[in-house]
Subunit: 402 residues, 3 copies
């Protein structure tokens, strides 16, 4: 469909292993468009949680770039995803962010689609028209312990295989019993890759995130290692496995099927990612106590979760334009927790709100400098290894034909 | 002057007859620029009515894309149109939307042009300078029964030949005796072609235009046919010809010289396009009664009129950017009608105000979906035949060199 | 680094000597980007005055296009300029417009640079990392009688050689003893070249600048010549040389090393560029009286000064986007003059404030017309000769490889 931008080869050739990507990857409209076509449209995107659509007909939209997906529970109770593009002349079919529907009626010419995506009828389309050929284009769906991931492409990466290995590790958290209690969007005038790269390394944590660095040890690999054994003991006591899973980089099943699981210690006195160190919400799943740890989860190349003992924070870096990205942060607690009683939204969201505000600022300055004709990609630090892995994935994906 | 965008050939090849146009036609900056150069700059554009410039020196501007035209009545009383671009270093010459002028003085270096466009003098340009070579570039002008149409290109389509056939049909309406009483602009974040296509079909009328569908039969060809004979009888009685003129599609004299005339019935109880069905203004021209009909007029490929028994509504789809279009609606009544007495602006404009607001919304959703990489142009319905004709014109026009 | 836009050759070929440049030079994003890379990044830019950074560690930023420069006085008291781009992953290093610093610490990962630009240390970069290779990229600096000029390119034009000839002519003004008392920015939706061209000619002064034309004779070469002898006499009496320096056009040492000095008379009754003709501030430098003249200074192709007997006005045309330019006007008086006592800001800035507002308007109309597909570059007047010289420089500079 879409031809590879001419400048791509040059830029690929300019890139030095272990260094940042060249300017053009972050400034070119054509490359942004190609990113959407080859990376976002062909990878798994975590869009939400089953609890958001409990009943048949419940749906919500997920938008990125110029794309829009309808995520809906069909009559049989299955979660499905459809491209939100009418098969007639291309109108958005569904224009409300979320709701409950019996069918989806295109607002333009009233083409009417079942929850399953099938076209019920094409009004006045004549006798030769075969509605069965004009259903909404489907996206692939994985529901992993309540988390909904979708991929618009039919040859989606085999993330399910990798998630099968993750399943026993996350089982104690009872992810299927979560609910979303807050979502925030932090718009940043930068390319989505700069926003993602920012999340992929904690080299910047000490200088840029004062509040986070007070409680989280990732900023200092040495301190983390020192506190790890004690935390592991507490984690096991609380019902968590003493295990790490790293299906990334060379160990990945396939590009786009990366999975990563690691629990690491908070500093002493911190039971969770709170201001004071005190708990923020009821213990998740089957946990029997606070271990003072936090789990980093990676699913594919676009989706990141942070699991504390009492809540889960999800991170997405949603592209809107070549230098326009929404950092979306999603907070989840166990389904039966009562707001006001069992948790306070303001306390729950404090840490990652202030941290995201920091990120907004530093990512903006990063893009601003990268826009300079004088920007020369510098060497990555050891603590930035995950960025390198991302570059490898990214380069392979955009090297293919869209 | 301007080279054809590389992507054009591919897009042309992708287009399947009887289907919507591919995505790129609605998303590419280069194609938008080429649309202006090959379609808008070479076709007739209805810009207004003679009554707007009754006296010598009276002028108004008409802008589209990055173009600006001065429409002026010259000293001899002729209507003329000039490109509003100084022949020296390119400044806009006229910067007021309308007014009365003796000459046009460029605000930059005071090059001074006659109403006829001739350069009076180029101040301090030396002895070798020949002012006669540096007049404002002229646009072609047709005044058809008071309606002013302009075409910037010297090889304008032969619309006058086609209009000669239209003249006897519209004569009873007394178009030359109209006045413009209201103009509204509905900005829509969509390509101009999507806005125009929306106007070209009434397949969307039933689902999208509740108010319009109550009174107008076009939404249902069957109902229209059923009510047609009675209306024709009433039309003839009121002084209108019982005739249709279709110089479009295969019958067109040339691309860009399309003319179409057809009167169709409103639903019973509707004398005109009003909320209640009651008249809105004094009968036009020589009409002796309300026939409960409305006339669709097409002039070229960019200009549309709807003539009720008591008022005229003109429609234009003015391109501003690749996904920025102003839907301009112009209401006209007979010149001697008095506002407040013979007509009320609010009542007069009600129907096409609410209908344009609907269109704003559905065209926006259309563009939004067309922007998706997953958009695949679907099949057109029978009721969308006029879009197909437009595509044929469009493709021929943009196939040429700019 | 950056390849020449394809359209450049065509546009160069289209340009007729003695005429305005073709449309594409003012409308193309690619050419704008190339202008920054080949013209702005390789020429001397006047950024300010030494008095703005009196002490070691004092700095200010100067931004244009997507570039940012840190101008700082180092520990040894030398003025230096650095590219404001971290050598690690490209963040802006300095994010405050001005201030006093001991070192520059990148806000992202805390890479820390000395005032001299050297990298003090790259935190956690491992044993193989050599900080001496990763200092901030330097820009060249010339301090000419207190005026700071910078050039990011290492092969900067030999402006210093030309300035050596200017030095004795400007010596009486005591430029090194100035201070900046006001800076204003006039944003104009036009390409930077149109803003610069506007400054380069006074053919537009009579029609467009009523206030300016009342006091300044440049609008009329004949009147200027007539008043010149008397003014020269007064100038010499006041301590100024009776000399002109024209190292522009064919006489330029090199493209980008242009220097120009000429004093011309104000109309009788005007001692300086004030509303009433009365003085605005104490006499500059060693001057012993008001001669009723004003000096035009050109330094390189981007920098313009106007020196009255009692104040100096500097002009820059700072590119922000293809059709986004900030006209920056800087007012300077002698360092020991006291605001409120020796000068009033409002009086001092009046003339060039109203004149810049005029320019804003006419440059905007110029761009608007140049954007038309029908714009054909017209012939330049005799009074516009400096534009022609600028075109020659511009074409040579953009003809090279970036």
């Amino acid at each position: 469909m879409m031809s590879r931008p001419d400048e791509m080869d040059d830029l690929m050739a300019q890139h030095r292993q272990g260094h940042a990507l060249p300017r053009g990857f972050y400034t070119s409209d054509a490359i942004f468009d190609y990113d959407i076509a080859t990376v976002w449209n062909r990878n798994w995107i975590w869009v939400g949680h089953e609890s958001q659509i409990p009943e048949p007909g419940d749906y919500f939209l997920f938008d990125y770039g110029h794309e829009s997906l309808i995520i809906v529970r069909d009559r049989e109770g299955e979660v499905r995803a459809h491209l939100n593009v009418c098969r007639h002349r291309g109108s958005r079919v569904c224009t409300e962010d979320s709701g409950r529907a019996r069918v989806f009626v295109c607002p333009y010419h009233a083409w009417t689609y079942e929850l399953s995506g099938e076209l019920r009828a094409g009004r006045e389309m004549g006798p030769d028209f075969d509605p069965s050929k004009w259903g909404l284009l489907p996206a692939q769906v994985i529901v992993f312990q309540g988390l909904i991931l979708v991929c618009p492409s039919s040859d989606a990466p085999p993330l399910d295989t990798a998630l099968a290995q993750l399943a026993p590790l996350t089982a104690p958290f009872g992810l299927e019993d979560l609910k979303v209690v807050h979502t925030a969007s932090y718009p940043v005038p930068a390319n989505w890759k700069l926003a993602l790269e920012n999340y992929l390394e904690c080299y910047h944590c000490a200088p840029a995130h004062q509040e986070y660095s007070r409680s989280h040890t990732l900023k200092s690999p040495q301190q983390m290692e020192a506190l790890l054994p004690d935390m592991c003991e507490r984690a096991v006591a609380a019902g968590l496995p003493d295990q790490t899973l790293d299906l990334t980089g060379e160990a990945a099943i396939a590009h786009g099927a990366e999975v990563f699981y690691r629990r690491y210690p908070l500093f002493d006195g911190y039971k969770t990612g709170s201001k004071t160190g005190a708990p923020l919400a009821p213990l998740l799943g089957n946990l029997t106590g606070f271990d003072g740890g936090a789990t980093d989860i990676v699913m594919g190349i676009l989706n990141y979760l942070l699991i504390y003992s009492d809540h889960v924070v999800g991170y997405r870096f949603v592209p809107r334009g070549v230098q326009e990205t929404d950092i979306q942060v999603v907070w989840m607690v166990r389904k039966d927790a009562q707001e006001g009683q069992d948790f306070q939204i303001e306390d729950l969201t404090w840490l990652w709100h202030v941290t995201s505000q920091d990120d907004e600022r530093i990512i903006r300055h990063n893009q601003s400098g990268v826009n300079s004709h004088f920007f020369q990609p510098g060497p990555l630090a050891e603590m930035e290894w995950a960025i390198n892995d991302f570059y490898e994935c990214y380069k392979t994906m955009t090297n293919s034909t869209a």
